[in-house]
């Protein structure tokens, strides 16, 4: 279909006048490039930019879906209510707690798994990778139910298996208390997403120049020294990217909490607050404001990571 090359260019974003005169070849290449990239770009923008702008607009109203007649412009009123409510800050705290703990644990666990896969014998490598990909591919909701049923005081067996551990007995109700419920929620989250982080780290591990580790070994460095002086510094970029991606993902945690506790007993996270406000309570205005704040939090985390820790995402993610 070579016709697509001759398509009118009026509909594409006007190319910046970079060089004064382009050859025909270069011009047609540029047009083709824009045409090929344009649909994906527009769809990505349409499904995110438009809704978030709409949310921004609707967050300025007092608007309940079941009382459309009472819709009223209140400016930043919704934001004032949310930011002065301790519930928002508590949910933010819980979300951050989950983010920090899961990312740290995943990083350690993922690194161990990456080392195992990196140095595994050829014979088992395939098996290990297959096994590790199961949690990666499994539906989060399924993972949530699996962990929930295992720990649940009625249908679970964990209490019976581990009753020799101090604090665990058949009467322990994991989901009746914030800390224990969060433990199970985080366990499910960690189980499901560690494979992803370990694969990122595996890729980083593969990039550490073999000559460096060998040279260190020849110099008599112990395993720990090689790890700390050679391998980890060379993996810094991979680790940073893995941490940032997982942190942003963990910050948006929803499925596990929704299934296991629905936010009861101090386990509510920001995503769930946004969901309950706009979808359950049908308070579109207030819910949109929570959504916008959640979005802002993600931007802030990203900004901090990029400015403070100089994580070069485009470089690390395959861009040149």
């Amino acid at each position: 279909m070579s016709t697509s090359v001759e398509a009118p260019r009026g509909t594409t974003p006007a190319p910046a006048p970079a060089k004064p005169r382009l050859s025909d070849r270069a011009r047609s290449e540029r047009r083709l490039g824009l045409w090929l990239a344009f649909p994906a770009f527009i769809i990505m923008l349409a499904v995110t930019a438009y809704p978030i702008l709409l949310a921004l607009w609707e967050s300025l109203f007092k608007y309940r879906l079941t009382a459309p007649a009472d819709r009223e412009f209140i400016g930043l009123g919704n934001y004032a209510v949310i930011l002065t409510d301790s519930l928002f800050w508590r949910d933010l705290g819980v979300t951050l707690l989950i983010t920090v703990i899961t990312v740290v644990v995943e990083l350690v666990l993922g690194f161990i798994l990456a080392l195992v896969m990196n140095s595994a014998l050829k014979a088992v490598r395939g098996w290990l990778r297959t096994a590790i990909l199961v949690p990666y591919g499994i539906i989060t909701v399924v993972s949530a139910f699996a962990w929930f049923y295992a720990f649940d005081i009625d249908s679970g067996y964990i209490n019976h298996w581990f009753d020799w551990v101090p604090g665990i007995n058949p009467d322990l109700n994991w989901f009746a208390d914030g800390p224990t419920a969060l433990f199970v929620i985080m366990a499910s989250e960690i189980w499901k997403t560690t494979p992803f982080i370990s694969l990122l780290l595996l890729a980083g591990l593969a990039q550490v120049p073999g000559e460096l580790t060998e040279a260190a070994e020849v110099d008599g460095a112990t395993w720990w020294q090689r790890m700390a002086r050679v391998i980890l510094p060379n993996m810094k970029a991979a680790i940073m990217v893995a941490v940032l991606f997982r942190a942003l993902d963990a910050f948006r945690i929803f499925d596990n909490v929704y299934i296991m506790t629905n936010g009861a007993y101090g386990t509510e996270v920001l995503s769930l607050l946004a969901y309950r406000t706009s979808i359950t309570r049908l308070e579109i205005g207030m819910g949109s404001a929570v959504s916008v704040l959640l979005f802002l939090c993600v931007i802030i985390i990203c900004f901090i990571a990029i400015k403070l820790f100089k994580v070069d995402l485009t470089g690390a993610r395959g861009g040149n």
Binding site: S2, P15, A16, S28, E29, R30, L36, A37, P39, A40, F41, I43, M44, V47, T48, P51, L54, V116, L121, V124, L128, R129, A131, L133, V134, P135, Y136, I138, I139, V141, V142, S143, F145, A146, W147, A150, S155, Y157, W161, P195, L200, L202, A206, A238, V241, A242, F251, R252, F254, D255, S271, Y275, I279, I284, L294, V298, C302, T314, G318, N320
Partner: protein, 280 residues
């Protein structure tokens, strides 16, 4: 770290067993639950006391058949279409990024990155309102479009990384032979790029298959409700009895495609994930 070959093998066997236990235990746990009778659920044991297929019967041929099978159809259809569209669009886009010289490359990659870190819950409310107004609420396209926001970014990144490794001299050779850019792309590059595209498709499918938030927010009948959302619709023998068994059985059935894909394509998935993610 050096020992005899046997010692190494034993160590690796132990490590492998540990890793496999870690990876598969929760799956085994819900698998065991799916074979329990309702009255067996509170036994406090891992394995059922009597093995029963009644939960599978309930969702495949029994009361919950309509609910489960229609949601399974929706999940498969919607995820496949979303994957298909995402991969087509991403292939074109990634080809352009990896291969052609045009302005705005950086903008597209940054946008993709921005979209992939976007909190889904933030757009679900406005999307819900928009869909209501234009009649997309509770339809297949109403889920396919938002799924693209999940699948497109990672597809673009992964494919861009793949395409950079393709020996493009072949394309030039084809162009020298008189083919247009498009023909060169189709004849010389597509066969080389196909494995990468396929891998990307698997990863995108996993992502679409996993969705829950859009599924519960943008559907309300079995016209479009996907499986993860449908799990909340199961019921026990009566309104108040918990559908633990049915949910477990359904969970196992939706895990089967994941396991099959992983078994068949673990090498490709790993290389796809790592290439798209960290590539210096």
């Amino acid at each position: 770290m050096k020992g005899s070959a046997t010692k190494r093998r034993v160590t690796w066997t132990i490590i492998s067993i540990l890793v496999i236990l870690y990876a598969l235990f929760p799956v085994a746990s819900i698998l065991a639950t799916s074979f329990k009778l309702p009255s067996d659920l509170t036994s406090g044991t891992f394995l059922p006391t009597t093995w029963s297929f009644s939960n599978y019967e309930q969702i495949l041929v029994g009361d919950a058949q309509g609910l489960f099978l229609s949601s399974l159809r929706n999940s498969i259809g919607i995820s496949l279409i979303a994957t298909f569209i995402a991969v087509i669009l991403a292939t074109l886009c990634a080809y352009a990024i990896a291969r052609l010289d045009f302005p705005g490359k950086k903008l597209i990659l940054t946008t993709a990155l921005g979209v992939s870190i976007f909190p889904v819950i933030s757009i679900v409310t406005p999307l819900f309102n928009l869909w209501r107004n234009i009649g997309l609420y509770d339809t297949w396209p109403g889920l396919i479009i938002p799924y693209l926001s999940l699948t497109l970014p990672i597809s673009i990144w992964t494919l861009s990384a793949f395409f950079r490794q393709i020996p493009w001299e072949l394309e030039q050779a084809a162009q020298v032979d008189g083919a247009t850019t498009w023909q060169a792309f189709r004849k010389a590059i597509v066969p080389l790029a196909a494995p990468g595209v396929f891998t990307t498709a698997i990863i995108a499918f996993f992502i679409a298959w996993n969705d829950f938030v859009y599924g519960i927010s943008l559907t309300s009948t079995d016209a479009a409700r996907p499986v993860p959302a449908a799990l909340a619709f199961f019921t026990g023998a009566s309104q108040f009895e918990e559908p633990t068994g049915a949910i477990s059985a359904a969970a196992i059935i939706v895990t089967i495609p994941v396991v099959v894909l992983v078994l068949a394509f673990q090498r490709q998935i790993v290389s796809g994930l790592t290439q798209g993610a960290v590539k210096g």
